[in-house]
Amino acid sequence: MRRTVSILVLPALLFIFIFFVLPILFLLAQSFLDPETGQLTLTGYIDFFQKETSQIIYVRTLRLGLTITLINIVLAYPASYVLARMPARRRTMAMSLVILPLMTNPVARTYAWLIILGRTGLINNTLLGLGLIERPERLIYTEGAIILGLTQLFLPLMILSLVSAMENIPKDVEQAARSLGANGITAFLRVIVPLSADGLVLGATLVFTGSITAYVTPVILGGNRMLMLSTLLRQRSMMAFDEQGATVVAVVMIVTALAVNLIVRMLRPKPTAQR
């Protein structure tokens, strides 16, 4: 058996080791090496955490990630409930529309928001037409624009996680709650939410880590002034000629993303029998 397993797994292991693990380890090493002398050093990290610019960007990235996750939860919960209760055939159709943003070219998807938010875009023209504003407002290159763009991108992930958790909730549990006198909202909060907590945690983790590492949306909707970690990384490596600085940002990004996953995994309640 051991030989069979080796034959099956080794080629792929070798591939992923050479083309994924080694480059990442090399990058990790680079972040600790002085680019001039080759000596071990922590200056890259000290610089990153001491500089006000990177502090602001790091905090902004985490804050936006959190905001987007919360908005996603609020938007996705009731909608997922309807989807989970749909008959299978209709749900298939409905879900295929939900996942469309995930499957769409990211530039195309984000471009839509430029048309909506630009100075000659939908929102400004509507507000001007209604006489609510006198001159167009700047809506792109703002945190709000990034939040909108990333919410559209990650809402499908949240919904998918929630729907698959809710599918497993037996209908009679809820009926029982109602027959005991709970009204709709109470039943939802007391019964549906706790029973779908697994999906919630999974979805929130996906959305949060996705948001803090996303690239295209902050590039297009955040511009050069509203930097996030990802756009800072790109700027460090491609515009500022700061190879070590770039690798430090990269490592901070990986560690943050992995830490969130790890913490969630540790805190997560024991999986319910059904999952």
Partner: protein, 353 residues
């Protein structure tokens, strides 16, 4: 999913993949290729004026890598000896940086037939014959004359209250980023060419930051910003003038009282190229009177070949003529190169506030 349909799906996929692999393998080189790294701006006109005639004349294929200065320099540096690039176009600051990094090689100017027709500043802008100035670019001001009532006349007007929130300037990491500081120095009454005075310019940067919509990293981005009506007033690079005029918005181009910054666009040969002969032929071709005139007439580049003559209406849109060229302020790229890291850091800190 029924078996038949899925089998045909898999077959289809296979049929698609196999020819793709064989195409990959059979792509042998027949004619020689020259890899040119350039800005990618006005590429259709460049193809007409340069790529097509050159390819035909020398039986080569030109492959372009396009991108802004810093991206291409970063890539050239990252790839080191593995780069495929033979010839590279940079703005002055980046050409200087590439030279300092040892990425360029000396150009055998004796092999260039058209060399003597160049203005003096274009013959050896980097020193040691590491580059040739094939175009001249200048940096002045432009604004929406329909939206800004009081005319713009000075670099100091970037700080005017009535334009707050509608200004854009080039990002520090770009060619004319340092020019922000230098011309603000002039606006504050300092000498733009004296490094001792540059602090005067820096003192105005926090005020400038409050005026900005966003910074721009490419002229093309600036054009988009004007089209979107995000920006009303900004410095601009002269090579983008034609495209700015095509935006359809009402623009006024200004030569500010403190003067205009000049910057040669430099073409260099990448160190270790295997195609030095073609590279030299390419450089000689693009500094020839004929090509420079075609590029000037299409408003792609302002010529550095002294023999180029263009009609008055075109001349006005270019950085053209001995008188204009004599009045340009050329930045001390070597000194700025030393300062750049510090300036970038300082700039970012102010911009993020």
């Amino acid at each position: 999913m029924n078996v038949k349909r899925s089998t045909s799906l898999l077959t289809l996929v296979m049929l698609l993949i196999i020819p793709l692999i064989s195409v990959q393998l059979s792509a042998q080189e027949e004619t020689r290729t020259l890899v040119v790294s350039t800005f990618g701006f006005n590429q259709d006109l460049i193809d007409k004026n340069i790529t097509e005639p050159f390819e035909e004349m020398y039986n080569v294929d030109i492959i372009y890598e396009s991108g802004n200065n810093s991206e291409r320099l970063a890539r050239l540096e990252a790839m080191g000896e593995n780069t495929e690039v033979d010839v590279i176009h940079f703005a002055g600051a980046y050409a200087t940086r590439a030279k300092v990094l040892g990425l360029l090689q000396e150009i055998d100017v004796d092999a260039l037939e058209n060399y003597d027709e160049l203005y003096e500043f274009a013959q050896d802008p980097l020193g040691d014959h590491m580059g040739i100035g094939h175009a001249i670019n200048s940096h002045a001001l432009v604004y929406r004359s329909d939206l800004i009532e009081e005319p713009i006349t000075s670099w100091a007007d970037l700080l005017r209250e009535d334009v707050a929130g509608f200004v854009s300037v080039p990002e520090m990491s770009t060619t004319f980023g340092p020019a922000n500081i230098i011309m603000l120095t002039a606006a504050a009454g300092g000498d733009p060419l004296d490094p001792e005075d540059w602090e005067m310019g820096w003192e105005l940067v926090p005020d400038l930051a409050d005026q900005l919509v966003t910074t721009y990293t490419r002229s093309s981005e600036l054009i988009a910003l004007y089209q979107q009506e995000e920006v009303w007033f900004s410095p601009y690079s002269s090579f983008a003038r034609g495209n700015l005029m095509e935006t359809g918005v009402e623009l006024e181009f200004v030569i500010p009282e403190e003067g205009v910054v000049g910057d040669p666009i430099v073409v260099s040969i990448v160190n270790g190229t295997e195609n030095e002969d073609l590279a030299l032929a390419y450089i000689d071709f693009i500094i020839s009177e004929e090509v420079q005139e075609a590029e000037a007439l299409d408003l792609v580049d302002s010529p550095t070949n002294m023999n180029v003559e263009v009609p008055e209406d075109i001349a006005q849109l270019l950085t053209y003529g001995e008188e204009t060229i004599d009045s340009l302020i050329f930045m001390d790229q070597e000194a700025l190169n030393e300062l750049l890291d510090e300036w970038l850091e300082r700039w970012n800190e102010i911009m993020l506030q």
